[in-house]
């Protein structure tokens, strides 16, 4: 099974830093450990979701503004 990135926080997942900006990353992008891939809004504060793997983004498993749980898969990767 290909690796996934799990949300470290529960809350509302956003793919962009603010509504007028481009998404942090998109399908087909190669990300490395430490790259920011989204933010989660939790209790009125915003926390960056940082990749802990290297890989090419195959697809997002959640939509922008979806509610996510701790440990929920949010991105599926394929080998670079």
């Amino acid at each position: 099974m290909d690796p996934t990135l799990k949300s470290p926080f529960p809350g509302t997942f956003y793919r962009r830093p603010d509504p007028n900006s481009e998404p942090y990353v998109t399908e087909g992008d190669v990300v490395r450990p430490g790259d920011v891939v989204g933010i989660v809004e939790i209790m009125k504060s915003f926390h960056e979701v940082v990749s802990d793997v290297e890989g090419r983004i195959a697809r997002f498993l959640v939509e922008n503004e979806d509610l996510v749980d701790v440990g929920q898969d949010i991105i599926a990767f394929e080998p670079v």
Binding site: F9, P10, G11, T12, M43, K44, S45, E65
Partner: protein, 451 residues
């Protein structure tokens, strides 16, 4: 007024429902789908679901709240704090829908919500504001004014807010550099490079005065609250009275707050916030046109139920007390017990509260909507409980707070209880010798309290 819709959640919703019950008023709760099991829903006489979890789709949705009030046959709306409490449009929409808004008029909310207008009102009431430029400024003008008011000064982006775009300059050379840099940054960040200048107060304290007006022309103060213990501008511990004020300055600050509220045509409960400089001067910073989170400390030292009074005054009754009836008796301390992990930069810690043991005994009050088995949702603020303790003097209030924190047990989530115990053991806190940057500086020294 017979039936009050409480447009909030958590402890303040429960607080309002209790006040309604004391006055024999019916209460209507509103809730999002994340709050179906919330205590305020169970305790109200009736409840209406107003939408999905995210606040913008429920507690911040003006139309949904007004529709709920109509559906439930409410004739008044209690806003609490946060959410729509300081939204002038919401206050006006309530009135337009034939509902009593339990708070000041929309015009007062709007005037006090506008920084420039609030400064104008303060000036008209001869209440000092932080010295600085009245509007936006050029480099030449800034240098002249900085010379007049004295360094250090703060350069702020006119379009900024919430601490963004604020820089400090300690001498003319630094100011010149900073103005160029700050204008560039403000232009990039906000699309507006205009700046204004303010005197920077070093080690100042945040002291606020509770005021109350009615529709019969009465306007009184209920003394002050000291709220300097803040982290990232979030208050963590509040107390009344302020350990930094003597009788004379206390009277002067209270009188200034009353003058300002009168100039604003203020009705219902409000708070006038001041910065208290080390030299004893105080400056108006803003007015909060709502009940405050920390209102229990004022209730403990005055014996007056502020929320009950808000409802009475909104119903058109005169204040049930005059200025001479308000005394500041003893001392009170409140600590905010938040679902946050103080060991991990105060990272929010939502989830199920598996166990809950609340403290009790003399002088102890707990305001909370939590219970064992309650899930703290990730969508709203992190406040789980407010512990407020009264004593005949500050020492007794602090001792009771420490005792109560020791008894307070919340299982399943992280809370700020260990942080507060540490804070109460701090010599400077015990001595009342702290200021608004105290927690950040303390962290920088010890590395323990992440800023």
């Amino acid at each position: 007024m017979r039936r009050v819709l409480v447009a909030n959640r958590g402890e303040i919703a429960l607080r309002a429902i209790r006040a309604c019950r004391d006055l024999d008023l019916e209460s209507v709760a509103v809730y999002s789908t994340a709050d179906q099991e919330a205590l305020h829903v169970r305790r109200a006489d009736e409840s209406v679901c107003i939408g999905p979890p995210h606040p913008r789709n429920s507690y911040l949705d003006v139309d949904a709240v007004i529709a709920a009030a109509r559906q439930a046959g409410a004739d008044a709306v209690y806003p609490g704090y946060g959410f729509l409490a300081e939204n002038a449009g919401f206050a006006a929409a309530c009135v337009d829908a034939g509902l009593v808004f339990v708070g000041p008029g929309a015009a007062a909310i709007e005037a006090m919500g506008d920084k420039a207008e609030a400064r104008r009102v303060a000036a008209s009431a001869e209440v000092p504001t932080v010295p600085g430029t009245d509007g936006t400024t050029t480099a030449e003008e800034a240098l002249e004014i900085a010379e007049a008011i004295g360094y250090p000064v703060m350069v702020k982006a006119a379009a900024g807010g919430g601490g963004r775009g604020i820089r400090a300059a300690h001498d003319p050379a630094e100011l010149v550099d900073l103005i160029a840099e700050a204008a560039r940054e403000a232009e990039a960040a906000f699309g507006d490079g205009s700046l204004y200048l303010e005197k920077m107060l070093v080690d100042a304290r945040h002291v606020e005065v509770q005021v109350f007006g009615d529709s019969h022309g009465n306007l009184v103060h209920l003394y002050e609250r000291e709220c300097s213990l803040q982290r990232r501008r979030q208050k963590l511990l509040e107390e009344a009275p302020s350990p930094a004020l003597g009788d004379e300055r206390r009277s002067a600050m209270a009188a200034a707050a009353v003058r300002l509220a009168r100039a604003a045509g203020y009705e219902n409960a409000g708070t006038v916030e001041f910065l208290l400089d080390r030299d004893g001067s105080f400056y108006f910073i803003e007015m909060n046109t709502r009940i405050q989170v920390e209102h229990p400390v004022t209730e403990l030292v005055t014996g007056i139920d502020l929320v009950v009074e808000q409802l009475r005054v909104a119903a058109g009754e005169p204040l049930s007390f005059g200025q001479d009836d308000v005394a500041c008796n003893g001392a009170a301390v409140e600590v905010r017990i938040n679902a946050e992990d103080p060991e991990r930069s105060f990272l929010p810690s939502p989830g199920e509260i598996t166990e809950l043991e609340l403290p009790g005994g003399p002088g102890v009050r707990v305001d909370t909507a939590a219970y064992a088995g309650y899930h703290v949702p990730p969508f709203y603020d992190s406040l789980v409980a407010k512990l407020a303790c009264w004593g005949r003097d500050r020492e007794e209030a602090l001792a009771r707070t420490k005792r109560a924190l020791g008894e307070f047990h919340v299982g399943g989530i992280h809370t700020t209880i260990p942080f507060h115990l540490e804070l109460l053991a701090d010599e400077a806190v015990r001595a009342g010798d702290y200021h608004v940057d105290f927690l950040e500086q303390r962290h920088a020294r010890s590395g323990r309290m992440p800023a």
